[in-house]
Structure formats: C-alpha cells, structure tokens
C-alpha cells in the first residue's frame, strides 16, 4: 500500500477531524487514515491500484477543506 501525507487547511475542531477520518476510512481503498488538528495534516495509507493521491485530495476538498499533497511513498 502507498502512503500519502496531505496538508489539510480549514479544520478548527475535533469534529472536523472526526468527519474526515470517518468519511475516508469508510472507503475500502483506504487502509489507514490519521488526521492531526495541530499539524493540519492527514496521513493516509491506501491501495494505489484502486485510488490515486489525486482522489484523496479531491475527497478532502469535497468535504470543504483545502488539501495539498506534501509527500507520497509508493511501495
């Protein structure tokens, strides 16, 4: 699975964090997601055959936040 670190701008409280974690973890292509309010980042482990980091950014932006890819590792 690949790993992506995404900056997420616009989160101000824990319910924003929970809604992102909740919505993305429901997707079977996403194996793990950890969102840090303090660091304004999301760390996502995903199946790069089913999903690209572009999809991850789009999903987070659909939720009303601004997302940009900081780092990706595909192995």
């Amino acid at each position: 699975a690949s790993l992506a670190v995404v900056s997420v701008i616009g989160m101000t409280c824990n319910s924003c964090v929970k809604s992102i974690e909740g919505t993305l973890s429901d997707m079977n292509a996403i194996k793990f997601i950890g969102v840090s309010l303090e660091k304004k980042q999301a760390t996502v482990r995903y199946d790069s055959k089913e999903m690209t980091e572009r999809d991850i950014v789009e999903n987070i932006e659909d939720m009303g936040f601004d997302a940009t890819i900081l780092q990706t590792e595909t192995n």
Binding site: G10, M11, T12, C13, S15, C16, S19, I20, G22, T23, D62, M63, G64, F65, D66
Partner: protein, 82 residues
C-alpha cells in the same frame, strides 16, 4: 416602482438543516458551496444557532444537498423560503 433584478429571477432560496459544531464546520460548508458560486449560487447564509444554511441559487436543491452531504455532516432539506 419596484425594480426586480431579472438576471436572478429564477433563483430560489433553499433552507437546509446542517449539523455544524463549530466555525470550521460552517467554513467547510461555505467553501464547498462557494466553489459553485458565480452564476449558479449567489448567496450562502449560515445561522449557527439554528444550525441552518440558506442558499440562493438557480440550481435544483438536490444538487446543493448532495454537496452538503459530501462534507460528511448530518443534513436535510427543509424547503424553499418564499
């Protein structure tokens, strides 16, 4: 004589209940709907106490509701405000 702005005469104001715990949540709703703005959405008003979102738009309410649902927040369509 009342001047009616013909360019938006077919746009309607839709009322939605949206669960927003904090300003970040209302900001998220504004940002998502803001992306539609321009000719299709002319105004977005959010009432945090009543947990309401009022959207003036030419789009059907289903499109707006679909956008809000995607933000992961509990929401429902109330109706059209006259």
């Amino acid at each position: 004589m009342k001047i009616i702005d013909k360019s938006f005469n077919f746009s309607k104001v839709y009322e939605f209940n949206v669960e927003m715990a904090c300003d970040g949540c209302s900001g998220a709703v504004k940002r998502v709907l803001g992306r539609l703005s321009g000719t299709q959405v002319s105004s977005i008003d959010i009432d945090m106490e009543k947990q309401k979102v009022y959207v003036t738009t030419t789009l059907p309410s289903e499109n707006i509701l679909a956008k809000i649902i995607k933000t992961g927040k509990a929401c429902s369509f109330v109706g059209e405000r006259s």
